[in-house]
């Protein structure tokens, strides 16, 4: 009887589950365009992918150009190491206030063409990560486990009333006992991504911005422009109690935080905002209604649907390093 009870319970519990699902859709083939013109040197690229089910094939048979509304044509060539088309002139940088579009064609008569996207006239001149950086650590198995960090950030814009931006926070840690500050591991899981639209006061005050990982909400408080906003970065390790290496830090390591800020056009901002809405759905109460995100690239001569985005951005980077040993104090 006792075993029967357990069997019944087990059957009940096992009855609810989530598992990967594959749609029986028509032989799905898509063209994916990932193209960017940036104000940062080396930040511009074009990537053309043939996506068939889950198989990606890089396309290298295209002639790729980025054309500005001033008539300038920037040629791109295929870079075998990265799989991207890169500017033939490696020093190429996009200009603020200029509109760009992207074009790629091949001998099969396929032509990808985007609409114009403009690099905003104005964008933040500085990004600060505050000196205050607190890491909460606990000791398990004689090593530290980083569970969360509190980061203060601020963007200081100047004259614009509204700007659109997205942030990417990259974490890395270095073993400073090793030579040349070798990066032990870049933690991909900790890539932070957020979009936000901020109404800037005409005074150009400091706008505190909070940053959250894996959250659909953005936190900033424009009513207190002089204050910094403490943001909590959660380290979502799959199972920190099971000794997953990504969660373990030695006290001799250095944390490197790099905040990448991109100023966007409203259209590009909308694209990323829609992407973030979908990515942040988690089946709970604040989910958004799912929908296909439409990009700005069209194809002539294609049999397949074209996905992706051509974006023109203004980029700023700021970084800060902190030693964990210090932080523990």
């Amino acid at each position: 009887m006792r075993y029967l009870k357990h069997i019944i319970l087990l059957l009940f519990i096992l009855s609810s589950c989530s598992e990967p699902f594959e749609f029986d859709v028509e032989e799905g083939a898509f063209n994916v365009i990932d193209a960017k013109v940036s104000t940062a040197e080396g930040g511009s690229y074009v990537r053309i992918i043939a996506l068939n089910d889950s198989t990606e094939t890089l396309r290298n048979d295209f002639t790729v150009q980025v054309i500005s509304d001033r008539g300038e044509v920037v040629d791109f060539s295929y870079d075998r190491s990265s799989g991207n088309y890169l500017p033939v002139d490696p020093t190429f940088r996009g200009d603020n206030g200029v509109r760009y579009r992207f074009s790629a064609f091949n001998n099969d008569g396929i032509l990808f063409d985007s609409s114009y996207d403009s690099i905003p006239d104005s964008f933040p001149i500085d990004i600060n990560i505050a000196d205050t950086l607190v890491l909460k650590l606990s000791t398990v198995l004689d090593s530290f486990i980083l569970t969360e960090a509190v980061v203060s950030t601020a963007i200081v814009p100047f004259t614009s009333d509204v700007f659109y931006s997205r942030l990417k926070l990259v974490y890395a840690y270095q073993d400073y006992w090793m030579s040349d500050s070798t990066i032990v591991e870049e933690i991909d899981n900790f890539i932070l991504f957020n979009n936000f639209q901020v109404d800037i006061p005409s005074s150009g005050a400091i706008i505190p911005l909070g940053i959250r990982v894996n959250e659909p909400w953005l936190f900033f408080d424009a009513t207190q422009p002089a204050a910094f906003c403490n943001s909590v970065i959660l380290f979502n390790c799959p199972n920190p109690c099971c000794g997953n290496p990504c969660c373990h830090f030695e006290d001799r390591w250095v944390m490197d935080f790099r905040l990448v800020q991109e100023s966007l056009s409203p259209a590009t901002y909308d694209y990323w905002e829609n992407v973030e809405k979908l990515r942040n759905n988690d089946g709970l109460i604040f989910d958004t209604f799912p929908f296909p995100v439409e990009g700005n690239v069209e194809c002539t001569g294609c049999d397949n649907q074209t996905l992706g985005l051509f974006q023109a951005v203004s980029e700023s980077v700021s970084s800060v390093q902190r030693e964990l040993r210090v932080l523990v104090q």
Partner: protein, 877 residues
């Protein structure tokens, strides 16, 4: 001679042996008294004997015995069993119109001996009039050809002197159904009669005709009912009677999901079915996120689903009505009943008090799922917990012959915690008081006050994101109905107070801010009139009109947008402040509804047209409604959903086999359906009009039902083909969905096949089985994932262009009576339910996830992917 003697001896022996097994029906009924009240005239059953050792159940034994004598029986509220002469018209009309009156049925009788006929000699007619319990009735008026001729005295007797001839006698008594008889008087004689409670004073009657409580058509177009006995045999999750899951066994009705208590009726959405519990509105019909329904099976006396031809007394919903009556009464002795299960248990009492004037039924249920969760070595499950409890009370007080009161109350509370992520809590508190007053012999006035409330709380638990979110609504309705067998007039005033949302930080460190959205106040004044025409040729027309005056009232703020501009934040010109009691918007709509039935022998042809408007919408971000979904009233920018439905049906009944075949078709035109912008968000959104689009739609289908309602093997089979399509070309919002082409609406599930079999193996054992097949629901699905700028992006298909896999499931229920004690009211039984017998992994939802470091990909949510056996012990003392 010797041989003849031998045969006679043998016959005698056999006869004696046989007679030893037979007892009189009267004796048999007296032994069964207690569990049920049997109402009959002794003269009707004098010569009827039954075999109590038969393998049939009690009712079947009775039924098989009386049917040979031209008698029938029906059961009222599972307590009163009426045995009455087989007047086919009487029963048919009850089936055709549940609220119909028996007074139109005329019994033809003769008094006296034709051989003593002398047209010049006065004939004296004497008789006794008795009530439903056999008691004599004092003061019953007897009219002869429309003139008052006599009244019953203190002994319930009367005396009339008439010349021989043909007369129409009408027996009437306040609170009881009038009885009309066509009498041919030959000479002096006696004429006794019984009067039964006025059916118009009764909520609903479960008709049991020759059946054992099967699904049957109400006769009205698109109306189907399930009696209690049938409800108990339909498999349900966790071994409990579940009206919601039972309703889905009917053609044209689908559940919104496995773990959902919302119904999709003929393509209607979750919010388009009005769910009533004794007249009070249920806004969240589910416990445990929908695995259970809020309807306690120990209270249910009847349920009716109006799929089309919705009576004019119902408003505020555009698709259908699920009307559940919770009036299951006890006997003079205290009845304690209950059930013990692995997941939940229930307990209740019921009895009659005050010389049968007061009925009361009080019961509750409680769940204990958590102990199961502790057995699972999964952190998320260990951190999860779920529980619910509810209490029901139903009471009836018959104050006097003219006045009756009905009280109903329900309180339900749910708690569901999912790991360390979120807690859902919701509470339903409903109450109602109804007063029925017989004004004259024919007219009844019913007054009702009904209050319904729903409160939701969601608590976010994720670190530094802790929040408490509250929303809900309350409804207060005052209704009055004046009716007789042909007319019905009604007025209802309903006030709604909706709390759209209130969010507050749950901890000091959380980054959630306090925010409260304005309450929404709605008022609906409805009036209806209904007329029933009946012809002797089998034609019945039920025509009515309902008018609604709906207002969305202040105080509140209304966005004023630039003229002819999409309702977007950028187009807000200013915000208008509307004062308390002032109208933000007003709508006046008229809804004609008509149904026609034509009966010819065993053929029934029916047709109906109805228009309905819905001013209250459930705004939800998923097909599976979560407890925090928002109710929203129509306002200046969100018009009511309007549906015109045309139905046509045909039913053929084979009397001898109690077999019926019906086919119904319907066509609906849907205007101003609720649709959503791409990426719409709903919670804490004070400008929902910016997210909502107006769709036009069409819904059509055909429903075929074959049912065998009696015998040891009974059941039904149905097939429904239906489509529900929508199109969005919203010029106001300057947006279209799927390029403005027709697409499958959320409830579009073309093929729906259902089988139900009930096999009475013996007096002790019953096996029933249920099979459902349903085309998978349409969804917008993540069909691929690609990367841009290092970010994984799910690519969703166009709106509802994909479908989740088809749903099908087979269940088996085995019921065994624990003891057979005919002389005592014992109804103890074990119920073994094998839900999802072959372990079909039916997909409830498909979503994209990039959580938990897993690759970004679609996931399917399977709620019940295994066989779920449950064992429940039901008892009644």
């Amino acid at each position: 001679m010797k041989r003849t003697l031998l045969l006679m001896q043998l016959f005698t022996i056999v006869n004696i042996a046989f007679c030893q097994e037979l007892i009189s029906l009267k004796q048999y009924l007296s032994e069964l008294e207690g569990s049920r009240e049997f109402l009959y005239k002794e003269s009707w059953i004098d010569s009827i004997y039954v075999d109590p050792s038969s393998s049939l159940d009690e009712l079947s034994i009775i039924r098989s015995a009386i049917i040979k004598k031209g008698l029938k029986l029906y059961i009222y509220e599972d307590t009163f069993v009426f045995i009455y002469p087989n007047r086919l018209e009487f029963e048919r009309n009850l089936l055709l119109n549940n609220k119909g009156s028996r007074k139109d049925q005329i019994e033809e009788l003769q008094v006296g001996d034709p051989e003593e006929y002398d047209k010049d000699t006065d004939a004296v007619i004497e008789g006794v009039v008795t009530g439903e319990f056999g008691q004599t009735l004092i003061g019953v008026n007897i009219q002869v050809n429309g003139n008052l001729a006599a009244s019953t005295d203190e002994q319930g007797t009367y005396r009339i002197v008439l010349k021989p001839g043909n007369y129409e006698l009408l027996y009437s008594f306040v609170g009881l159904e009038s009885e009309k008889k066509l009498v041919t008087v030959y000479s002096s004689g006696s004429l006794n009669t019984s009067l039964f409670p006025d059916s118009r004073l009764l909520d609903e009657i479960v008709i049991e005709g020759n059946s054992s409580g099967q699904i049957f058509e109400d006769g009205s177009v698109g109306v189907q009912r399930i009696g209690l006995e049938k409800l108990e045999k339909l498999p349900s999750f966790l071994g409990n009677v579940d009206v919601i899951k039972s309703a889905t066994s009917l053609p044209g009705i689908a559940a919104a999901g496995e773990s959902s208590s919302y119904l999709n009726v003929r393509g209607g959405t979750n919010d388009q079915t009005l769910i009533l519990m004794n007249g009070t509105t249920i806004y969240n019909p589910g416990h445990l996120l929908g695995f259970y329904s809020v309807f306690n099976g120990d209270f249910i006396s009847d349920m009716a689903v109006y799929k089309g031809g919705i009576p004019t007394r119902f408003g505020m919903r555009s698709s259908s009505v699920l009307d559940v009556k919770m009036n299951k009464w006890g006997t003079k002795e205290l009845n304690v009943y209950g059930g013990l299960g692995l997941i939940d248990s229930n307990l209740g009492i019921k009895r009659k008090l005050m010389d049968n004037k007061l009925d009361i039924n009080l019961g509750g249920r409680i769940s204990y799922v958590n102990w199961i969760l502790n057995y699972v070595r999964d952190e998320d499950v260990l951190r999860s917990s779920a529980r619910f409890g509810d209490v029901n009370i139903s009471s009836r007080f018959i104050m006097d012959e003219k006045n009756s009161f009905f009280l109903t109350g329900f309180y339900g509370k749910d708690f569901f915690r999912y790991s360390n992520r979120i807690i859902y809590k919701w509470r339903t508190l409903n109450g109602g008081l109804r007063w029925s007053r017989l004004l004259t012999n024919d007219w009844v006035l019913e007054s009702e006050l009904a209050v319904s409330t729903l409160s939701n709380t969601s608590e976010g638990l994720e670190q530094n994101d802790e929040f408490i979110f509250n929303n809900g609504l309350s409804e207060t309705a005052l209704r009055g109905t004046l009716s007789n067998s042909q007319f019905e007039f009604g007025l209802d005033v309903t006030n709604y107070s909706i709390k759209p949302g209130e969010i507050a930080p749950a901890t000091e460190t959380t980054q959630v801010d306090d925010r409260t959205l304005d309450r929404e106040r709605l008022l609906n004044i409805g009036a209806h009139v209904n007329r029933i025409f009946k012809s002797t040729g089998g034609l019945e027309v039920n025509a009515g009109l309902r008018a609604n005056y709906f207002q969305n009232l202040g105080p509140g703020e209304v966005n004023i947008y630039r003229e002819e501009s999409p309702l977007l934040p950028a187009n807000v010109q200013n915000v208008e402040r509307v004062g308390r009691g002032e109208a933000i918007s007003s709508d006046f709509v008229v809804e004609p509804r008509v149904s026609v039935n034509y009966t010819l022998g065993n053929n029934l042809l029916r047709a109906s047209y109805s228009r309905t408007n819905q001013f209250l919408h459930l705004i939800s971000n998923t097909v599976l409604v979560n407890p925090s979904s928002v109710w929203k009233g129509s306002d200046r920018y969100i018009p009511p959903t309007k549906i015109d439905q045309f139905s046509l049906g045909y039913q053929y009944t084979v009397d001898e086999r109690d077999l019926s075949i019906s086919i119904d078709g319907y066509y609906k035109e849907l205007d101003d359906l609720i649709e959503y912008r791409n990426g719409a968000t709903f919670l804490m959104n004070e400008s929902l009009e910016q997210e909502i689009l107006r769709a036009e739609g069409v819904s059509y289908g055909a429903e075929l039902l074959v049912s065998k309602n009696s015998g040891r093997l009974s059941g039904s089979a149905s097939y429904t083909y239906s489509r529900t399509l929508a199109k969005v070309q919203d010029r106001l919002q300057d947006v279209s969905i799927n390029d403005g082409e027709w697409y499958s609406y959320y409830t579009d599930r073309p093929h729906n096949i259902k089988f139900n079999v009930d096999w009475k193996i013996s007096k002790k054992w019953t096996v029933s089985s249920n099979f459902i097949f349903l085309t998978g629901a349409p969804i917008s699905a993540p069909i691929t994932v690609f990367e841009v700028d290092g970010i994984s992006i799910p690519y969703f298909s166009e709106r509802n262009s994909e479908r989740i896999p088809d749903y099908h499931r087979l269940d088996l229920v085995i019921t065994g009576k624990s003891r057979i004690r005919r002389t005592k009211k014992n109804n103890d039984r074990w119920v073994l339910t094998l839900y999802n017998l072959y372990g079909r992994e039916n997909v409830a939802n498909i979503y994209f996830s990039n959580q938990n470091d897993a690759p970004s990909q679609p996931f399917q949510l399977v709620n019940i992917g295994r066989l779920v056996p449950t064992l429940t012990y039901k008892f009644e003392i």
